[in-house]
Subunit: 436 residues, 2 copies
């Protein structure tokens, strides 16, 4: 297919959607890709890069296959915000090389965006948007739009500025095409624009956009000067990243954006957690060692340790997940934290009591051991109660301390609760040893 005729290839290939082109591009080997660089213009490749899902650490592979000037032209052809996403993953020296090879305008736009810190509104906004002065007519505004349309990332929300480039309002293209051609834009625009600050966290921005169902949102500095816009496609990516991040941390994997090809990279992402757990596990073992005598006397006690630790670990994870997700979606705010803790205490007491009674019954019918059953039951009530409280308290505390609550990951909370529950159980057992 690829061998012969460049023209035939171009026609067939470019008729597809860029996403399909990107899939083809990623699957093609280096040799085929080198041919593609010959057949496609940098601008055409730019479109492919914008929608592709190449992993952060793999850009280098592709870029090294290209001529440096070709790559620079490709970056110039991308929307500045997307180009910055890629450039942020590269070495500083490489970025500089590409920037010097671009023309001043393109390089300037990219440089401006590179200044903003990662994970802020500034880092994901685009500077390719359309503004119209507030005193223009709908007719002249439409002319501005028509000219800007091929370059702008979206033309469906148009931001209106005053003569000092301060955000004055917003008008949707829908309103524009319904409006009379001679109407003045400031009369039809919506003055209550919801905007975000350039330094706002990207997650907050994403939440706001999702809540308000916006397709685009303006980004301003603290004096309301318009600096850029954020479009809905970037927001979807942020929301996904965030959800996948919380999920990874709950499972104790450092990231799973990409499916790694080889077991060594996969192992590297999991080992940090596992080694941390080994340490914590040794702490647990050490603590249990202090109860060796008790265990020595009633070996049957050991049999229920996985049960109790498992229940505590799981209740803690449940409470943790609810708290982390609640913080992420903005459902939990500063003033509702105390309420959550009180509720979790209640929840822990209820779930603990139900499970405890259940276990007493099971042990009584299975082993006919009432005292042992009661001991295990009480330990379960206590463990679940403490674990539930800890599971919600720790992420809330981290949030207050401005640490990402998801760092209090599943495995960490689970091990902590293992320790707590074992101490409760074996402590009780030691006290009541004579009864067993």
């Amino acid at each position: 297919l690829e061998e012969g005729d460049p023209e035939a290839f171009r026609e067939e290939f470019l008729a597809g959607h860029p996403y399909d082109q990107a899939k083809y591009y990623e699957k093609a080997g280096p040799e085929l890709r080198r041919k593609m660089y010959e057949f496609l213009s940098p601008k055409e490749l730019a479109e492919i890069f914008e929608v592709s899902e190449i992993a952060d650490d793999e850009f280098d592979v592709y870029l090294n296959e290209m001529d440096t000037r070709y790559a620079a032209d490709m970056f110039a052809g991308m929307y500045a915000d997307n180009a910055v996403d890629v450039l942020n993953e590269l070495d500083k020296s490489k970025v500089l090389t590409y920037l010097t090879l671009m023309d001043d305008e393109d390089a300037g736009e990219i440089k401006d965006l590179l200044h903003y810190e990662e994970y802020t509104a500034g880092a994901i906004m685009t500077t390719e948007y359309v503004t119209i002065p507030e005193n223009s007519t709908v007719r002249s505004a439409m002319t501005i739009l028509r000219n800007a349309a091929p370059e702008a990332e979206t033309i469906y929300y148009i931001f209106v500025t005053d003569d000092e480039n301060r955000l004055a309002g917003v008008v949707s293209l829908r309103d524009m095409i319904i409006a009379d051609e001679n109407a003045i834009v400031s009369d039809i625009m919506n003055e209550r624009v919801v905007s975000v600050l350039v330094s706002d966290d990207q997650e907050e921005v994403a939440r706001t956009m999702k809540d308000y169902d916006f397709l685009a949102m303006p980004v301003v500095d603290f004096r309301q000067h318009l600096l850029g816009i954020i479009t809905v496609d970037d927001i979807i990516d942020v929301l996904e990243e965030e959800a996948s991040d919380d999920y990874s941390k709950l499972a104790g994997v450092s990231d799973m954006d990409t499916l790694d090809r080889n077991p060594i990279t996969a192992a590297k992402k999991r080992l940090p957690w596992l080694i941390l757990l080994t340490f914590l596990g040794m702490v647990t073992a050490n603590l249990m060692g202090r109860f060796e005598q008790t265990l020595d006397q009633v070996a049957l006690l050991a049999v229920f340790i996985p049960l109790i630790a498992g229940m505590a670990g799981n209740s803690g994870t449940q409470a943790l997940a609810v708290a982390v997700r609640g913080i992420a979606t903005g459902d939990i705010e500063e003033e509702s934290k105390m309420k959550l803790l009180v509720r979790e205490a209640g929840t822990g007491l209820i779930t603990g009591t139900v499970c405890g009674i259940f276990v007493v019954g099971l042990i009584y019918f299975w082993k006919h051991e009432l005292v042992l059953g009661l001991l295990v039951g009480v330990a379960i009530v206590g463990s679940i109660f403490v674990a539930t409280l800890a599971g919600s308290f720790i992420p809330l505390l981290m949030h207050r301390l401005k640490i990402d609550p998801a760092v209090a990951s599943g495995p960490f909370i689970t091990t902590l609760n293992d320790i707590i529950s074992i101490v409760i159980y074996l402590g009780l057992a030691t006290v009541f040893l004579s009864q067993l």
Copy 2:
């Protein structure tokens, strides 16, 4: 504020964005809300309901406050797809009452959508969209658009149909305003439209839309007749729901869409998992009971059980999370399943060996017990290897069997791996008992 003057309230209130209105509405008590029903038209309330984040089981509370006719008018005022989302949560008899109170057109649109099964493209699509015949000029198409704009959910993608209402192409409003007014639509439209079938799963649809960065997508039947469109705001909700669903299951909470106010509802969502775990925990205890003699002879053995079970449980959860997320994002396809298993086997072997060696070292230096250390180390290598394989195999198998892989939730896999690891460890210990 609310007491006096309806007009002043209306002016102030309606100037805000519907999302802010919705927040105010939800926070207001029943009395205040009753006043709002007087002051606001059903159509105005409809806008509030469209963006509100009222939980599924709470719609009843609000609807019962309203006059039935008022509520029916409100549903008629909503976009049909959003109305259906709410109606799907109500009793059939109530839905019928509302439908009979509406005019035939509105009721018809809603009835059509109610037929589609939940979680399919049909259930989330809207029928309020704009189509233009393929042979119209851009000028006449713009007139159609202007007339349809106030009603349609989006006018930024316009779908082009042939004379039998079959989907022929798509043209963006952007292309339309750039194009010459006399151009024929079929000449400027894109014929390679990506569409979804009405019976497609909503997650698949969401994936496709996200990948292609579409703002709207057409829904067709198997003969390519256009039935509706899906807009990006619905898709964001689907993606969020899905991520939050996977997350809940990893943590073993049945759902956490809403932050419940009282501990009893919260406990109800967690108890099913905890009770299942109690049973599984008793199975573990039972199995361990068979090794009571071994434990009786070397009580120190018990001390390492939480460590080994914890490592196995966690490696399993890591592998599970990677597999579940990979399936959800479409990264893992039928042909790559075998590859994943092979890779996971490798990963399990590497992580197991590293952690195993580490533990042997720790136990040797801490307790000066080489044989016991070796025993624990070998048990850890084996447990992590098996747990990692099980953690990826089970969700893949479930996916093959068309069961949602996320059902193989975190707590389930963890407990399964607890059992496996304990059997490996105590089995080995029993065999080598004489050496200890």
